[in-house]
């Protein structure tokens, strides 16, 4: 049987598909062999890996407390009003907590 000739285009297509897969198949061994003798495909592989690495290194964004509060207020408007009222009452009457603690004794 005639052995299929591996071209650079085959190699690149395969590299893109199986970049992080197991490299133990016979096709992968043939690719490794090709890479050893082909600086263009090696450079291609390197740039492909760098592309992915750059997107992985992009700093993570995080939600702000304000945004979280807006989200919870949107989900449970009644709860948030109740909580705000309690907070306001506590601010108005800072003694209330102490009074409650004293009455529990």
């Amino acid at each position: 049987m005639k052995k299929e000739k591996i071209t650079c285009s085959h190699i690149r297509r395969h590299l893109c598909s199986e970049l992080d897969e197991n490299l133990n198949s016979s096709r992968c061994r043939a690719i490794q062999k090709h890479l050893k003798n082909c600086p263009e495909c090696t450079a291609y592989l390197k740039s492909l890996k760098k592309t992915i690495r750059l997107y992985r290194q992009y700093p993570e964004v995080k939600i702000s407390r304000l945004r979280e509060d807006q989200l919870l207020r949107c989900l449970f408007p009644a709860d948030r009003k109740k909580q705000t009222r309690t907070t306001l009452q506590a601010k108005k009457n800072p003694e209330s907590k102490t009074t409650l603690r004293a009455s529990n004794r």
Binding site: C16, D20, S47, Y55, R56, Y58, V61, L72, C74, L75
Partner: protein
Amino acid sequence: LTPKRNHIAEPDPSLLQNARDGDHQAFTTIVRTYENLVYSFAFKVCRDREKASETLQDTFVNVYRKLDQFDNRSKFTTWLYSIVTNNCLMKKRRTKLARTTISLEELSLGDDRQAKAAHRELLDSSRQTPIESIMNRELRNLLDTAIQALPIDYRIVFVLRDVEGRSADETAKILKLSIPAVKSRLRRARIFLRRQLNEYAII
């Protein structure tokens, strides 16, 4: 390239049940546990903080409404990702930014003025600091521009597989696609992004 495998903890079944039963505190715990996952994934797809915030809100409103329908047959995070993904897609459709008729091959490469200006800034800044060591604003802008040029269906696959580290199997479940379809989209997305970054002389 080392495969990135992010382990995300699943919520406690009793917490989920309490949230289903209407316990607001339990649902708030779920929101606080997964809000950054949802927000950062939405940002990685749409590359816009405002849109990511809107997607975050839409997602948790959907989760709250549909929690009864979550049957524990799939992972909670898989279900959550699929809701965020649908919201990203709907937002894209609503804002009519989707260039659905343009195929991947037809997309222009590197002719964007904004990208070229950012590229010039990047080259200037790279004389002082190595690109690899610091992710500066200009580089981030170029990465945003490149990925925004990628059609959203491909972008979502790239983000799930290569950035979030989800497996091909999980990505297929999230997007209700076959594994070969996920692999094919990932391959084309990688080729496209490599070409874009190569045009900008980043890689």
